[in-house]
Symmetry: C2
Subunit: 138 residues, 2 copies
């Protein structure tokens, strides 16, 4: 399988696990290493297997429904690492409350013996429309 | 020079160029490739040399002062790629207005012939204190 396709596949599996709210499928996407990291939109950094998986468990427990439409998916592979950027156009129901949001995400994947695994996920809210970028604090 | 040290150095150069509001120094940090990407906090994705450098030029033109204190800097190197996570504790003056903010950032660097260069910068605002992570839309 071409590398790009393998990365599209594991990236898709991440969002399928998220939509399924299934911790076993989410665990299967990630590399079981201390150096994995996860940034949920607006949260602080979570580092290491236990902290990252605890966060998914907590999110899944409080979420009734989660649906993603991924747009502008870009993949870059160099050696045994790849990073993917995309917009998560999501509609969710969290603790009985409906939400919709656009999240801009960087996912990093590492190639290991039997395929690719996620090692880093950084999602953040998009607050400024694409057509009118203006200076912010940064 | 050990790889970790080289990555700490180029990462520091990025923030020095930012504090200096110096587009030449900022250009020297980045790899001149179409696949470089930059996400300023809350902005949409910027891709490619021209879009990324235009954004820095625009930010520098509108910023009088920018000071960073970097905390929890973590470096992971695999082959010719490295990613760095950190908190940017920043104080700035933008268009005459003082701001302070905590930005959580993922920087990706690539090793090329003569050293390491930035290929990806994703900064996002921290809105939830570390001690009380609660479920959000994601």
């Amino acid at each position: 399988m071409p590398k790009d396709q393998a990365i599209h596949d594991i990236n898709a599996k991440f969002y399928e696990a998220f939509e399924a709210l299934d911790i076993r499928r989410m665990e299967a996407v990630w590399l079981r290493e201390d150096y994995i990291q996860c940034v949920h939109p607006g949260w602080s950094l979570l580092a290491g297997w236990d902290a990252v998986m605890d966060s998914w468990r907590r999110i899944f427990e409080n979420t009734e429904q989660m649906r993603f439409r991924l747009t502008d998916v870009r993949v870059k592979v160099i050696g045994t690492l790849a990073w993917v950027t995309l917009y998560e156009n999501l509609v969710s129901s969290v603790q009985g409350e409906g939400n919709s949001a656009v999240i801009l995400t960087t996912n990093i994947f590492e190639e290991v013996g039997d395929g690719w695994r996620m090692v880093h996920h950084h999602g953040s809210p998009v607050m400024i429309p694409e057509t009118e970028p203006t200076p912010t604090v940064h």
